[in-house]
């Protein structure tokens, strides 16, 4: 019991602290590849600190939904992060909801975020909400197929169980079904975290933005919560990818020695995945909005192929 409570606290702290670092690493890395100097690794922390202390303007056309949204988004995303294994194969709350709960908690946060975008009444907010919900909706089947492949392989939707099953077979990620599912989930990761070629996190160009358009009216502490939640969501999805498919170094419990070994490994895996994401980002141009469904259809087909190959290779 005590260990569990400690695990919860530890994972909350870990996720809160690590999420901005991953964002910072992404940006620094991207700048480096583009031969820019770019901001430092710790810039996201400074941004959050600054935003939390700044004043904010609430649009006079908005309602309580606008104010509730940052809290709901932050809390749902944080809870989703407690359902997935990070450094230990036992996620603190994985009994209370498996991978389906993770997907739906993220969806709950997005639901409110889209409402928050509409609440201010500006056309940009509506535009962002509409696009965000659309892309999320068409990314969902691919996400689910990939998730199903993994869950069927492990015989469980509980992520701790999934990871433990994967740990039993270290080279499983070489199986075709796993590789295909990984590819599908990777595309979904790009789409869900709003990165090039789907969305550009750095843009404020009116006609191309998706996520940024939705949060245009937010400022100060609310914006900080939303930005932080986005970073956590990115961490959640990346953790899903690295720990489901490459469960190396996950400790079996929450002892301190285990943490010392598995934490660096976990961060290393995340950074490697980040590098891949950044490479995709710098070598691609942003797609037209109506080309995005094609990309997500590819993800869907990959997911379906993953399932079919599960069938073929498991008899």
């Amino acid at each position: 019991m005590m260990e569990q409570v400690l695990a919860i606290f530890f994972q909350v702290a870990l996720v809160l602290l690590l999420a901005p670092l991953v964002t910072g690493f992404n940006r620094a890395m991207k700048a480096r590849v583009q031969t820019r100097r770019g901001p430092g690794l710790l810039q996201p922390y400074r941004d959050l600190y600054k935003l939390l202390r700044k004043g904010m303007v609430i649009p006079d056309t908005s309602s309580w939904i606008f104010s509730a949204t940052p809290y709901v988004l932050f809390v749902t995303t944080l809870l989703a992060s407690l359902l997935i294994p990070t450094i230990s194969a036992h996620a603190p709350l994985s009994l209370f909801g498996g991978v389906l709960a993770v997907v739906y908690l993220l969806a709950l946060g997005r639901f409110f975020l889209a409402l928050g975008g509409l609440d201010a009444g500006s056309s940009f907010g509506g535009l962002g909400s509409s696009r965000e919900m659309t892309i999320a909706a068409i990314a969902e089947p691919a996400l689910m197929l990939a998730v199903f492949t993994v869950a069927i392989g492990a015989g469980s939707t509980n992520l701790s169980m999934v990871v433990q099953a994967a740990q039993g077979q270290s080279w499983r990620f070489l199986a075709p079904s796993q590789m295909l599912a990984f590819a599908a989930l990777f595309i979904v990761l790009i789409a869900e975290t709003g990165r090039i070629p789907v969305d550009n996190p750095a843009t404020h160009l009116e006609l191309t933005m998706i996520h940024e358009a939705m949060i245009l009216e937010y400022s100060g502490p609310y914006l900080a919560l939303i930005e932080w939640a986005s970073a956590i969501k990115q961490l959640v999805l990346m953790t899903l990818l690295v720990n489901i498919f490459f469960p190396f170094g996950l400790s079996a419990n929450w002892s301190s020695t285990a943490v010392l070994i598995s934490l660096p490994l976990y961060i290393l895996k995340l950074l490697l995945l980040s590098i891949v994401v950044v490479m995709v980002e710098v070598t691609n141009a942003k797609m037209r909005l109506f080309r995005v469904p094609e990309l997500l259809t590819i993800a869907f087909v990959l997911g379906a192929l993953a399932l079919i190959s599960t069938f073929i290779f498991q008899g």
Binding site: D60, T61, Y71, L95, F111, A114, L118, S130, M144, L216
Partner: protein, 682 residues
């Protein structure tokens, strides 16, 4: 021992009494509002009786049978509360009580066209016959109740009989229902002849006594016959025509429970009359579910009529229920009663949940429509300030119907996912691939539903009012709020406390498959819901909700530590620096769903027309006319040719319709002789 029979009969009697009182009031031209108030309260009490009878029957596990002879062969006025009937009657009476409570306030504003007595007559009769449909145990009695539900529903739909839209919606409803009943006759007669009895109890397992070909014919006619009532695609076209034009309390009842009579019929046929069904039957049901769910939500997205949008969502949710039923049929034919039970629980639980949140949403829409005088979302906006309570309840319904935690929609969709997932491992051939694909389509459906309800809630309730009547909308009356509040609480309780409610399905699955799956579905002292066992996956909506609240400490602490001194001022929306935000700048419902209209263009075939008028240069238009519509695929490509065919046939048949009564008498006589010659064998 609970007086189940007494409670049940008291409920029926009270409905009948209330109906007759309404008729008397109407005939004596008593038009005061207290008539409606009194009779709605009576309906509420009657529903409470029915609720306790059904709940007691389910909890105690006591079936009761009761019948009156009719003096005619084959027909007994027999009623039976077996677990399946009790479950549906429970759902009905829960919703009926809330709708009746809502109606007390709702009917005060001229809904009944100054005929409160007549409205309440049909309203109570409707509830009475619905109860009988769910509990009748004799085929003919079932059909009598079934048809009277249609008739009373028709009169309720056309309450606003001066509007042509209502009349057309009602007419389409009654026509489609007639067609469905025709199919049902075929199926029921085949089964009854195999069983040698018209009693439901004797018809248990009678599907096996038919030859495979006849069994398939009976199955198909029953599936499509009940499918009409359930609003399954492609038999759905009456639903978005009839539900929106009815008064909103009637729409709530129709979408919440009347279409579930079709689901009840299917459950009765698939899992009671047929002991086993071939694989193709299960695949057909699953396919119908996937198609209905996906197309239902896609059409809903294109609607900006709030009530039509909700009506299309009923089609979507029927699809989700059918996914559960289809999987259950498949699992049974593959010899996995445990999984079949899990899938059936998923389908039935979603039936109850959909009833609750759809009722809530329609009641919310009713308040909005009454408050603003329009069903068109493009004219609403900002209602959250004028109608804060309605907005809150509608939001709860919207979250629940989108399948988001921690409300009830999430739980039943979770069960549906789990049964689809389990299907992959339990199916021998490549047919197993249909389960995950169906699961992916369910995911798409749920995500599109969330999109649709962001639109429905966001455009209706948030931002600036788009027209004068939205600006001056008035909040719903207290009893309307109370009705909605009860349903909103039910959404929360059925979600958070799902582990308490899942055991009520035990007797149903016991009867259908001989296994009580529910003890395995609940674990850790009622804290966790599982997919058969904790190893397969578990979820706890309650603990998720608790954790959500508890994690609220983090943002609060951040605010306390850092943001406490930050100022908070209210100002105009920034809007990328554009000054003077007006309602004309706001995103519209049509614009919101535009990306999906483009992406699914092959289905919608959107057509748009833009005409600009200008004086000097085309760059300075004086006025712009914009028109956009989508092609209703099923109506144009299936029903219009069908209608043309029927009309052609009717024109040919006109030749024998001479109008002479002698000729008609001769026809009847000849028919009778033929029937006696060929119909009566023994």
């Amino acid at each position: 021992m609970w007086p189940i029979r007494e409670l049940y009969l008291a409920g029926l009697l009270l409905y009948a009494l209330a109906a007759l009182t309404g008729l008397a009031a109407h005939l004596r031209k008593i038009r005061a509002t207290w008539v409606a108030t009194l009779l709605c309260c009576a309906a509420m009490v009657a529903a409470a009786f029915e609720f306790s009878a059904s709940a007691a029957s389910l909890l105690v596990g006591a079936e009761f049978n009761w019948s009156l002879p009719s003096g005619m062969p084959f027909l007994h006025y027999g009623v039976r509360l077996d677990p399946l009937s009790a479950f549906f009657n429970l759902s009905l009476s829960l919703l009926a009580a809330c709708v009746a409570l809502y109606s007390v306030g709702y009917l005060k504003r001229g809904v009944t066209r100054n005929r409160p007595g007549l409205f309440c007559f049909f309203f109570n009769l409707h509830l009475l016959f619905l109860t009988l449909v769910f509990t009748a145990s004799n085929t003919i009695f079932f059909f009598i109740a079934w048809e009277l539900v249609v008739v009373t529903a028709y009169f309720l739909v056309v309450t606003d009989h001066e509007s042509a839209e209502s009349r057309q919606g009602g007419m389409l409803y009654i026509l489609m229902s007639r067609g469905g009943t025709g199919l049902l006759f075929i199926g029921f007669l085949l089964l009854a002849s195999a069983a040698g009895s018209m009693e439901f109890q004797a018809m248990h397992g009678s599907g096996a006594k038919l030859t495979p070909a006849l069994g398939a014919a009976a199955f198909l006619s029953l599936f499509f016959g009940f499918g009409v009532k359930a609003g399954m695609i492609p038999l759905h076209i009456w639903l978005p025509a009839a539900h929106p034009v009815a008064p909103s309390n009637v729409s709530a009842l129709m979408s919440g429970i009347v279409i579930k009579t079709g689901i009840y019929g299917m459950a009765r046929v698939f899992f009671d009359f047929y002991g086993d069904l071939p694989v193709w039957a299960g695949l057909l049901v699953l396919l119908a579910g996937v198609v209905s769910a996906l197309l239902g939500v896609l059409y809903a997205l294109m609607e900006h009529d709030l009530k039509r949008l909700l009506a299309y969502h009923s089609i979507e949710n029927i699809g989700i229920i059918l996914m559960g039923f289809g999987s259950a049929v498949l699992f049974r034919s593959f010899g996995h009663p445990q999984l079949a039970a899990l899938a059936l629980v998923a389908g039935l639980f979603h039936t109850l949940n959909h009833g609750v949140f759809k009722c809530l949403l329609f009641l919310g829409a009713g308040s909005v429509v009454q408050g603003t005088g329009t069903r068109n979302m493009e004219q609403m906006g900002g209602l959250i300030r004028r109608m804060p309570w309605t907005a809150l309840f509608f939001l709860v319904g919207a979250i629940a119907i989108s399948g988001l935690p921690p409300f009830n929609g999430f739980v039943s969709e979770w069960f549906t996912y789990q049964s689809l997932l389990a299907g992959f491992g339990a199916t021998p051939t490549l047919a197993r691939i249909v389960f995950p694909i169906a699961g992916a389509m369910l995911a798409l459906t749920a995500a599109l539903a969330a999109t649709c309800f962001v639109k429905a809630f966001g455009i209706t309730f948030l931002a600036l009012p788009r027209c004068n009547s939205a600006e001056h909308a008035t909040e719903a009356r207290f009893s309307m709020q109370a009705g909605m509040a009860t349903l909103a609480v039910a959404c929360a309780v059925l979600g958070l406390g799902a582990t308490w409610f899942v055991p009520i399905f035990a007797p149903i699955t016991q009867n259908a498959f001989g296994v009580q799956i529910t003890p395995q579905l609940v674990s850790a002292n009622g804290l966790l819901l599982t997919a058969g066992s904790v190893q397969n996956g578990s979820v706890s909506p309650l603990m998720l909700a608790v954790a959500l609240v508890a994690l609220g400490i983090v943002p609060l602490a951040l605010w306390f530590l850092l943001g406490r001194k930050s100022t908070r001022v209210t100002g105009p929306s920034w809007d990328c620096g554009l000054p003077g935000l007006t309602a004309a700048n706001e995103y519209t419902a049509t614009a919101f769903s535009k990306p999906l209209r483009m992406i699914f263009g092959a289905l919608f075939r959107p057509r748009r027309e833009i005409q600009a008028q200008y004086d000097v240069s085309p760059y300075y238009p004086k006025a712009i006319h914009f028109e956009s519509e989508i092609v209703p695929t099923f109506e144009t490509h299936f029903y219009q040719p069908l209608l043309a065919g029927i009309q052609m046939l009717a024109a040919r048949m006109r030749r024998i319709q001479t109008g002479s009564i002698h000729a008609y008498l001769a026809y009847i006589f000849v028919t009778l002789i033929l029937l006696l010659l060929f119909g009566v064998r023994e």
